[in-house]
């Protein structure tokens, strides 16, 4: 339920940011739209059993800033390799343990890995993560577990 409530809050923000017309008519239509979507989202969750869930909102900006730094650093590394050519690659598949409990944290971790170029999550399941890394350095960067710890701390 908490997930659904934060979904509604985010939907309201989305409407207000997109709209730019704050007349009674459009605000009313906005309210009806948000309620309709929330109703449908609730129905979907009731049908498939997956309720929207996520980290506490105040912890998100800190993680995003950290992730942004990682993304830029990883991009620079891959850019260098692009211009040096395939000889600079040493691609490999590595397995990582998946230490998060909740599904959203596992998905967030997996997508954060893919979002930093140089590493792509290939498979997930059975408490493990299969990652394709472009180089030894990229694989080692994941193996040290800094990102996993950050995502885990969001869970608490």
């Amino acid at each position: 339920m908490r997930g659904l409530l934060s979904t509604v809050a985010a939907l309201i923000v989305l409407w207000l940011v997109n709209s730019g017309h704050y007349t009674p008519l459009l605000l009313g239509l906005g309210a009806v739209s948000v309620l309709l979507v929330a109703f449908l989202a609730g129905r979907m969750a009731a049908v498939d059993g997956v309720w929207p869930d996520g980290p506490p909102l105040w912890r998100v900006p800190g993680y995003l800033v950290w992730l942004l730094g990682q993304i830029v650093a990883a991009n620079l590394d891959v850019l260098r390799r692009i211009w040096r050519g395939p000889a600079s690659l040493s691609p490999r598949l590595v397995e990582l343990p998946l230490s998060m409990r909740s599904e959203w944290a596992q998905a967030l971790y997996a997508n954060s890995i893919t979002l930093t170029p140089g590493t792509v999550t290939v498979d997930i399941g059975g408490g493990r993560l299969l990652v394709h890394a472009l180089s030894e350095g990229a694989a080692a960067g994941l193996a040290d577990g800094a990102m996993a710890r950050r995502v885990q701390s969001l869970e608490r």
């Binding site: 991009n75 850019l79 692009i82 690659l89 691609p91 997996a110 893919t114 170029p117 792509v120």
Partner: protein
């Protein structure tokens, strides 16, 4: 808009275009499907990010800038998911990754 902000905006857009171009170049240059995904990731993340940052600087403190930020957020959520789905489909189809010079020698 001040000349400084305008200059920064164009610098970001120019840099973003260069990064996107590099990503496309890598897409052609890298040896196999999986490594090409990384090159595409460069375009998706930093390339798109820099171009949108430039546009946000041009838009100034307005709703347009907020919408551009939303676009970036959307791209950063959907992009890696798509990359992952592609990689997973390739793996399940039995496509083996290229492992570089050592792999070829073996």
């Amino acid at each position: 808009m001040s000349a400084v902000v305008d200059g920064l905006a164009w610098a970001a857009i120019g840099l973003g275009v260069f990064v996107c171009f590099s990503g496309a170049f890598g897409l052609l240059r890298f040896p196999d499907f999986y490594s090409r995904l990384h090159a595409a990731g460069v375009t998706d993340t930093l390339g798109a990010g820099l171009v949108l940052l430039g546009l946000m600087l041009q838009a100034g403190w307005s709703l347009a800038a907020a919408k551009l930020a939303l676009i970036l957020l959307f791209a950063w959520v959907s992009g890696p998911t798509a990359s992952h789905v592609l990689a997973r489909a390739a793996r399940h189809d039995g496509l083996e990754p290229w492992t570089g010079a050592e792999g070829r020698r073996r």
